[in-house]
Structures are given as C-alpha cells and as structure tokens.
C-alpha cells in the first residue's frame, strides 16, 4: 500500500520513459506527413516507442516531463473531436504546452494564407504544428515553409498517418506480426485518408490488403499505377467475397453527403451491400478484429451489434491513439530546432 506522501514524491520525479534511445535508431524525420515512405524499421520504432508510452499511461500519475518546454500547436481547419483531444492529451502527458487553434476562431477566417499562419504560429514559439486540413497536401505546403515540425492529423482525402499507426498498433496488439494477414478495408475508400495511409503501412509490413467498395467509391486509377506508385492492394466490390478468411475487417465511415453526391443510390442499398454485420463477419476468420476509425454510423457501414461486439476493438483504437501520438511527438521533436537545443534535458530522462 503506497502512502499519499510516496505518491507525491513519485509525481515529482517520474520514472524515465523506457523508449528506445535516440542513438539506437536512424530516426531522421522532422515532419510526419504520411507513411508512404516509411521503412519497416521506422514503423517498428514507432511501435516500440508506443509500448513505452503505454507504460507511461498506465502509471498512477501518467505524466512525464519529457517534452517540458516544448510548445505544440494543434491547428485544425476541420472539425475533429477525437484526433484533436488525443493529440492534446498526448502532448500534455509528455509535459508539453499545448495550444489549440481552430480555423474558425483565428485569422484564418480573415483570409490569412496557410503559410502566413504557419509563420505566425512559429513566431509565437510553436515547436510542433499538429495540423488538420480539408485540402489534400496542405501539410506538405506547411512543412516546406516551416522550421517547426509538422504532424499531419489528416489532410483532405490524402493521408491520416497517426490513425494508420494506431490501427497498426491495435492490430499488432492482437495478432502480433501482420505479415501474411488478410486485412479488409471496406467502405468509402475514394474519400478516405484513413484507407490511403493504412494501405502504405500495412503493405510495407507484408499484409495482404483488400479494399472493398462499390465501384463508384474506388479511386479511379487504383489499378494503373506503375510499381511503387501505389501500394499493392487488391480491389474487390463484393463484400462477402472480400471478407472471406479475413484477419482484420476495417469499416470506414460512410458520409451522408456521398449519398446525395450520387455515388450510391442510398443508405438502404449501401448498408445491405456493404455493412459489416454479424452475418458477414462470420465469413471472416474466427475472432477476426473489427476496427473503425470513428465516428461510426451504426446501422450504415457497421451494425450496432458488431460495433459493440466481442470482436470490436474500436475503443482500444481510441485508447491506443494517445500512446501512438505520444510516440510520434516524442520521436519528431528529436529533430526540431528546439529539440536539438534541449537534447541534454531529454537525455537526462
């Protein structure tokens, strides 16, 4: 039984993070924009660092001063609840100062350009910009003009690398290695940055990735890429066939606007053909994992019983999200200008 006094002492001098030491790895990235150029070693490093962050989160007082003195700005041009909260908490657990900037509540609405906004936030003292933007590629523009680190928290239809990392962490938590595993990503692939990022990391690690969507929601040209242009994935339009023998079934959010956009005839037909429900899940491997990046439209892309069933790992995904984002912030700040200056402080952890 620990006394209150002992707890306080622990909080004042927290245990070091058991993260892989910086010298151990060849982590050179200053930005996290996508996973399209990640090596297996880099993915491994993020996973091992996430293990260490999970340990921190499991402590009685989940706080470490690892990023004390570091300023993280979350710059969100799009609404988000979980991703933003997840990043904010990740930063705070590591002792960073976290400032939240929303496009609607800032000079962005006055017509300030993205580059000016980035430079302004940098001048204020931002070391890391966690950026969500409704335009594909926007974080690349920011990164080209920023001295701060840019972490992509979702850009348009393009990429959502931390989501893909937490998906990977969740899958590995249950299955171990993903090599040779069949992973089915089903739903609105065309508009999904989650699917795009997941394709890269999962295929890099040797998983068999099957995309399943109505033909109107498969990105045109998916099959025409030269080698290396796009990840090697299979496209399947029949969910019953796609799901057969799957180790993981990842359902994507189907946005209502797409129905009006004429991509599919309507909710009723879509859910009949593409909903992940108990009957379909029975075709997958016994105990196959069910994932969803959230927020879920229960009754559309996923049935209520599956969403909350034994095979669902949706809540675990959310929980893992904090640890993964801690790992990303920890790794990325090794290479920010201030991270370099603070190297000695970090080393003392």
């Amino acid at each position: 039984m620990t006394t209150i006094r002992e707890q306080e002492t622990r909080a004042e001098t927290p245990a070091p993070i058991a993260a892989p030491a910086s010298e151990e790895s060849a982590w050179r990235r200053r930005h996290l924009l996508d996973l399209d150029d990640f090596s297996i070693d880099e993915l491994d490093l993020v996973m091992r660092t996430t293990d260490a962050m999970k340990e921190v989160l499991s402590r009685e007082v989940p706080r470490v001063p690892a990023l004390r003195g570091t300023t993280i700005v979350t710059l969100f041009y799009e609404n988000s609840t979980r991703t933003r909260a997840s990043f904010e908490l990740a930063g705070k657990v590591l002792g960073a100062d976290v400032i939240n900037v929303s496009a609607s509540g800032s000079s962005v609405t006055k017509g300030e350009s993205l580059i000016d906004t980035v430079k302004t936030l940098q001048a204020i003292g931002a070391d890391v910009l966690v950026m969500r933007h409704n335009r594909s590629g926007a974080p690349y523009l920011a990164a080209r003009h920023a001295e701060a680190s840019v972490v992509n928290a979702g850009d348009g239809l393009h990429a959502h690398p931390t989501q893909a990392l937490l998906d990977l962490y969740t899958i590995r938590g249950s299955l171990g290695d993903v090599r040779g595993r069949k992973i089915v990503i089903v739903g609105d692939v065309l508009h999904s940055r989650v699917a795009r990022s997941n394709m890269w990391s999962l295929t890099a690690l040797g998983a068999e990735v099957v995309l399943c969507a109505p033909p109107t929601l498969v990105p045109p040209g998916m099959r025409d890429a030269p080698e290396g242009g796009l990840p090697a994935v299979r496209v399947e339009t029949d969910l019953d066939r796609a799901i057969e023998g799957a180790d993981v079934v990842m359902a994507l959010r189907m946005q209502l606007e797409r129905m009006h956009g004429g991509f599919v005839p309507g909710m009723r037909e879509y859910s009949r053909l593409y909903q992940v429900n108990a009957k379909r899940l029975a075709y997958a491997k016994p105990g196959a994992l069910v994932l969803h990046p959230g927020p879920m439209n229960e009754g559309v892309e996923i049935s209520h019983e599956v969403a909350h069933g034994l095979q669902s790992h949706v809540e675990e995904q959310v929980a893992n999200g904090v640890a993964v984002r801690m790992a990303v912030l920890w790794l990325i700040t090794r290479n920010t200008p201030r991270g370099g200056r603070m190297a000695s402080a970090r080393g003392s952890l």
Binding site: D36, S113, G156, H158, M222, G229
Partner: protein, 444 residues
C-alpha cells in the same frame, strides 16, 4: 525607324516554301528583303547566326495577356516581352480579361496598347458570348470588324450546344473560326488534376479524359452540321486526338493545337515535380487546365503533332501572381507561364527523335497561321518569303540552359520547370523588323 538587319550564315528553314539551306537573310523596312548566299550587309546591323537555325518567328494562337483588368498577373507590355524571349513574333490574345474582350471598345483598347507597348504583334481573339457567360452571342460582326481573328470563351467551354451551333453558323459569315476549350464540367466537378493513379495517391479530385473527349466529339458533330470551322484548343488526351484525326479524314473543318506541356509532361509532375524524385510536391505550378495527363496521352499528342493531326503548338501561356500558386493545391489557380520555355520544352521531342526539327518549326510558324487562316489578316505571316513581314527567329537547337522563373520577362513565374535544364534556346527574335530579343551572352 526600322533598321537594316542582316542575319549571317545560319541554316535558314522556311517550312512554308520548303527552303532549307545555309544562307544570309536581309531585312529592310520591316520586311524580308532577300535570302541567299553572301548578301551585302553594308550599313546593316549584323546578327551572327553561323551554326544556328534561322526560321520565321513563332506564332502562338493561345496566350493570356490578362490585359485589361488583370494586370497584376501580366500586361501587354510584359506578356509580349515574354513572347519575344520565347521566339514568338505573333501572339493571339485570349479574351478572358476583365472586362472580357467581347466588345469593339475592348478590342480597340488591346490593339492600341499593343501598338504603343508591345514587343511583338498581337492579334485579338474575341469572346463568343457576352461577358463569356455562355448565354448570348457577343457582337461577332463588330468584333470581326475590329480585328479579331477568331472567337473563343476560353477558360470556359461554350457549354450550351445550341449557342455553340449558332456561334459557328454566325461566325461563318465572317469566315472566322470558333476556338473551343473542351471541358464537360459535370464530369470534372471540383477536378484539379488528371484522373488516374497519381490523383488516387494524392487524394486529389481528377478530371477523366472523357471530360475533354465528349465536348470534342460534340464540336466535331457541330462542325459537320454547320460546315463551319471549329478549332480545338489545347488537345490533351489520346481520345481527343483520335476524334480530330477521324474528323480530318472525313474532310471536316476541324483544326487543333497542343501545348508544350501536354507534349512533354505527365500527371506525375504534380506529385513529384518536373525534376522527378520521390518526395511528394503537390506542385501547384503543374496545375493546369486541361490537366497534365498520363504518358499514353502525352505520346498520342506528340505523335499527332508529328503526323499533322494536330496542326500546331500553342502555349496557353497563363501567367498568375505568386500568391495564386503559393497556396493549397485545391485553391491554386490553373495555368502555366509558357511563352519563355515553349521552344526549349518542345525541343525535347526533337532530341528524342519523335519529331524532326523542320516539322517542329512548321508547327510553330506556318502551321498555326494556316490553322486559323491568319495570312488573311497579315499577308505573308509565318514565312520567310521576300516581302513578308520581317518576323524572324534565330535558334540554337543544342544549347542547354536552366529555367530560372525569377528571370522571366513575364510577370507570371508559374512554371513547373524551374531548375530544369532544357536543350534548345532562342538566341534572337526580330519582330516586324525590330530586334526585340537578343541573348546578351550568345549561348551554345
């Protein structure tokens, strides 16, 4: 004011007459005075063209000079200086200005400005519809009388098929063509690049080839219905090329142009930049409409230029201010500042043996003149015939140079070619008897 000029010892290529020999060329009173061996150059300004190519000045059917109204992007002075640097001695000004070039008074403004400030000849293209709104015909007769050489709503298609039909019929009275920017907007909703694997990777919305090909097919059908002349602007897909080829085989009055960028660059330029590499660029300077297409389309366009299916090269010079490109890809303006890189970029086809130098010169001189019948407006244009206007370019087909957009004469620095080395340079340009460009340091 017009001085006597002798261009010495170059290989003179005049595709209109088939002349191709090493010769001197003398200019007097703004006209070609003589072409031949060992001409007398007494008292003349001499341009040494030994080892170089001498050709008629290039003619561009498709340039956006942004004047009046959008002078922050370009004006007639800067745009024509860019043309001179690129070897162009005649450029056709597209009417998507503010106000649009849809009335005689705006055309007169353009011609007055050009007379006062232009380095090269400017031929105006009038709008098809009032305000380029695609609703009512502009006063095409008045525009023709003011000096327009064609009509176009370029930047936008003539969307309404009946309006297009009426325009073709009505313009026929003045024997002037309609130039159509072929784009089916409903197939290219929110599109910012070519639809294909690159767009799939980048998460950008793509325009399928069919968005260009279906209005091309419509326009060809209307050319047949009306017997009028339709000119297809900036062809960029294999299907559009095939449609034009079939139309020509059937004897319809259909002509077409292709841009230097659609002849040489693919949609991968958007992702990785013109210099190649593996890091994603989202290069807004490669955002253009029609978009850079797939390799198969590029190959089809080059082959069609070589075999004459496509009549000519046209730049679609589309200058923009820096801020209009220094932004998110979706929000960036469409267009490439193309006058100053056109020859060097097209020379890639020559170096890759996809087209001969003589044919390329044809497609940049008499080719465009014949496509729109410009010699009806300016006699002898596009040739080096004695008595023709003294529009001459001196070229070094082998000279290497690196594109430095910040040194462009154009206000538009928007090119994906910054830092790229091109082989083929314009050494000197003589327009209407005046030396309007002469590389200070002879290249090559």
């Amino acid at each position: 004011m017009s001085e006597r000029i002798i261009i010495r010892g170059g290989r003179v290529i005049d595709p209109a007459s088939g002349y191709d020999a090493v010769a001197d060329l003398v200019i007097e009173d703004g006209r070609i005075a003589a072409v031949g061996a060992a001409l007398d150059g007494a008292g003349a300004r001499e341009i040494d063209a030994r080892g170089l190519v001498v050709a008629p000045g290039f003619v561009d059917l498709h340039a956006h000079l942004r004047d009046p109204g959008l002078e922050y992007k370009e004006d007639i002075e800067s745009g024509t200086r860019a043309a001179a640097r690129g070897g162009f001695t005649t450029i056709c000004a597209m009417p998507n200005t503010e106000p649009a070039m849809d009335t005689r008074s705006v055309i007169e403004y353009v011609l007055r400005e050009a007379a006062a400030r232009a380095s090269v000849r400017v031929l105006p293209i009038g709008a098809v519809s009032k305000g380029r709104a695609g609703k009512e015909l502009a006063e095409l007769g008045d525009l023709a009388a003011a000096g327009c050489v064609a009509f176009s709503d370029d930047g936008a298609p003539v969307y309404d098929a009946t309006l297009m039909r009426r325009a073709l019929e009505y313009a026929g009275a003045f024997d002037l063509p309609i130039i159509d920017h072929c784009e089916e907007k409903s197939l290219a909703q929110d599109a910012v690049m070519h639809e294909g694997w690159v767009a799939a990777r980048l998460g950008l919305r793509g325009a399928p080839a069919a968005a260009e090909e279906s209005p091309v097919a419509r326009d060809i059908a209307l050319a047949e219905t009306t017997g009028a002349h339709v000119h297809i602007a900036h062809v960029s897909t294999r299907g559009a090329v095939e449609a034009v080829r079939r139309a020509k085989a059937r004897g319809l009055r259909v002509t077409a142009e292709v841009t230097p960028h659609h002849l040489t660059l693919t949609d991968e330029t958007v992702a990785f930049g013109a210099g190649g590499g593996s890091e994603l660029q989202y290069d807004t300077n490669a955002k253009v409409n029609p978009p850079l297409r797939a390799q198969d389309d590029v190959d089809a366009c080059a082959a069609a230029l070589a075999d004459g299916t496509i009549d000519c090269v046209a730049t679609d010079h589309a200058p923009h201010a820096a801020t209009e490109k220094l932004c998110e890809f979706d929000d960036a303006a469409f267009g490439i500042s193309g006058l100053e890189t056109a020859f060097g970029l097209c020379m890639r086809l020559v170096h890759e043996k996809k087209i001969s130098l003589e044919t390329l010169v044809e497609r940049m001189t008499i080719g465009p003149v014949r496509a729109l019948g410009l010699d009806r407006h300016v006699h002898g244009i596009g040739t080096l015939a004695v008595g023709a206007p003294a529009d001459v370019v001196v070229l070094d087909p082998g000279a290497e140079w690196t594109v430095e957009p910040e040194r462009f004469a154009s206000k538009g620095k928007n090119t994906p070619l910054g830092g790229v080395t091109l082989r083929g340079a314009v050494v000197a340009t003589v327009a209407c008897g005046r030396v309007v460009h002469h590389a200070e340091v002879p290249v090559g």
